[in-house]
Symmetry: C2
Subunit: 309 residues, 2 copies
C-alpha cells in the first residue's frame, strides 16, 4: 500500500463529511475543491462567507453551488472553530480540518470540556511517509504535538498510532521506540522509556502491536544494520511505526524526509473523537490531499446525519 | 567542495601521522590500507601485534613492511588507547583513530588529566554530509557525543564546529540552531537556547560565524521554506552548520540522511588537542575514508617529530 491507494480508497466512499474551520484561504479552498473533484467527501466550510465566496468565485466559479460544498458563516475565527468542532461532535461531519486560523485556536475548541472532541486520550500527531526506495509506508509519531512526552503519554501516543495503523491496513504493526543508542542508559531518559514501553507491550499494557526499543533509526528500519549490530526480534529492521523520543527529533526527522529524501507524507491528529487534519501552509497540495484521504480512511463508521445547514 | 575533494586534499599532504588505538580489526585494517594506498598519512597501529600482523598477512601481504605502517604492541585495549593518545600528545601523531575497542575506553584515555588530550573544551561530534541534490556540504553537530547539552555546552559545540568548518574551507559559516518551531516557546528549552545562542553570536560571545535560531530544519536549509514562513536573515535557507538540540534529534537526523537520503558522511570528534576519528563498524568503508580525510584536513600544522618506534 502506498499513499496513492488511500486517495483511491477515500474516493470510493465519498459519503463522508469534512468540517473546515476558517476556510477563508486560497490554499485551503484549493485543497477542498480538489478533494471534491476526486469525490472524497462533502465539505462544510465554516468561516467568513464573503471571503470564502470571493475565493471560490475567482478561482472555481463552477463550484459555487456544488452540492458537496456548503458555506456556513462565522463572525470570528473562534466561532468558526467552535462551529466546525460542534458539527463533528453532533455527527454532522466525520473529519475536522484546520483552515486559516492558529492551531491553538482550533485546539482550544477541540479540547473544550463542554463542546469539544475530547476522549480522555492524549491528542497526538501521526504522519505517514512514503519514502523513495523504501519498501513500505512508515508511520512517525509524534513530530508536531507533544513536546516531551512522559512514559504514560508515549504509551498513549503508541496506542493512537496503532489504532490509525490498523485503520489504514497494518494488521499488527511493529513499533520501534527510537533513541540514539540500543543500550539502556541511565543518562538517556529516551532509552529508559523505550525499554519500559517494550515491557508494557510484552505485559499486554499496550495491545495490538509489538514494541521494541531502544532502537536507533538504522536498526529500526534496516535489516542489514540490525544484523550488523546483532539485534534480533520482530521489530528490528522491520518497523512500521517509529516512536520518536521528543518533538525535536520527530520534527527534524519529518522535515529531513520531506526535504532530503523527497518523501511524500500525509498527517493527522489522532486521539480526539474524530480525525483532525492540521495541514499547514508549507505543506504541498499533494500532502494536503494525502492527509485528507488518510483522515477519511480513519473514520470507522460514518455517523453522518442529515445536516441542518 | 564535496567530500571527494577532502580525500584529494588529504592525499596531497601525505606527511601526517595517524595513531590507531587497538588496530586488531579487519575493517580498521582495510581502512588503514586504503588510506595508505591513497597516500593519506603514515599509520602507527597500537594493539595486539600478532593479531594485526595476521590480518595484514592474510589480506594485504604486500603491506607488512610498508614504510608508512608501523605496529606497536600493546598488551591490553586500555594500553593501546593510552599509547595511541600519548603518541598524539607528544607530537608523534596528528590524528587519533579508534580501532577495535569500546568508545568509552578510548575516551577515558583522551580525557585523562595527566596524559590525555584535553583542552578545556567540550568534546563534540561533528559530521559533514554530502546529500544528493543538495548544493553544498552540511555540518551537523552533535549527533553522537553530548546527550542533552546545556547552553554553555551548545556554545562550545558551535565553536568546535566553526573551527572545523573554517579548516575545511567554509570561511564564515552560517549556523542554524534547530528546534521544532521558529518561535521562542517557554515550554521548549531548545527554542530558548537557540534564541540565546543567536544573541551570543550578535554580542560577539561566539565568533567567526553567524547564528540564527530557533529555526526548523526546513527554514534552515530551504530558501523556499524560509520565504514561505517569512523568515529572513543570513542563515535561513542557507545554513552551513546545523546545531541539533539533543542527541536523539541529531542521531535520528544523521541516520535518516544516510539510510533515506543516500547521503555520504564523514565525522570527527573535535575539542581535543587533535582530531579524533571514531568510526564504527556500521560505517561504510567510504565513510571511514571521508572521516580520516576530514580529520587530516583539520590538522592545522603538522607538529610531527621523528617517531621513536
Amino acid at each position: 500500500m502506498m499513499l496513492q491507494s488511500y486517495i483511491e480508497q477515500a474516493a470510493e466512499d465519498g459519503n463522508r463529511t469534512v468540517a473546515v474551520a476558517a476556510a477563508e484561504d486560497v490554499e485551503v479552498i484549493e485543497a477542498v475543491v480538489e478533494a471534491i473533484k476526486l469525490n472524497f467527501a462533502k465539505f462544510l466550510l465554516f468561516g467568513n462567507r464573503e471571503e470564502i465566496l470571493t475565493i471560490i468565485n475567482e478561482r472555481h466559479p463552477e463550484m459555487v453551488r456544488h452540492e458537496n460544498l456548503k458555506i456556513i458563516h462565522a463572525y470570528t475565527k473562534e466561532l468558526a472553530a467552535d462551529h466546525a468542532v460542534k458539527a463533528v461532535k453532533f455527527f454532522e461531519a466525520d473529519v475536522l480540518m484546520k483552515g486559516n486560523l492558529p492551531t491553538a485556536t482550533l485546539l482550544k475548541a477541540v479540547l473544550s470540556k463542554e463542546n469539544g472532541l475530547r476522549t480522555g486520550n492524549v491528542l497526538s500527531h501521526i504522519s505517514i511517509f512514503e519514502i523513495p526506495e523504501f519498501d513500505r509506508l512508515l508511520i512517525i509519531t509524534d513530530a508536531a504535538m507533544n513536546i516531551a512526552p512522559d512514559l504514560d503519554q508515549k504509551a498513549q501516543i503508541v496506542r493512537n498510532a496503532v489504532a490509525v495503523a490498523k485503520k489504514i491496513g497494518m494488521v499488527f504493526p511493529r513499533v520501534a521506540a527510537l533513541s540514539a543508542v540500543e543500550m539502556v542508559n541511565s543518562n538517556m531518559q529516551a532509552t529508559i522509556d523505550a525499554a519500559a514501553l517494550t515491557l508494557m507491550s510484552k505485559r499486554g499494557q499496550i495491545e495490538g502491536c509489538v514494541i521494541d526499543g531502544p532502537l536507533g533509526l538504522d536498526n529500526a528500519i534496516s535489516a542489514f544494520a540490525a544484523n550488523h549490530k546483532r539485534i534480533d526480534g520482530e521489530v528490528a529492521g522491520n518497523a512500521d511505526i517509529l516512536l520518536v523520543p521528543n518533538i525535536e527529533a520527530g520534527n527534524i526527522l519529518y522535515k529531513s524526509l520531506v526535504y532530503f529524501a523527497q518523501a511524500k507524507v500525509g498527517a493527522i491528529i489522532a486521539g480526539a473523537k474524530a480525525p483532525i487534519v492540521l495541514t499547514s501552509r508549507a505543506d504541498s497540495a499533494e500532502s494536503k490531499l494525502y492527509s485528507l484521504a488518510l483522515a477519511l480512511c480513519c473514520v470507522q463508521d460514518s455517523k453522518l446525519k442529515q445536516t441542518s445547514y
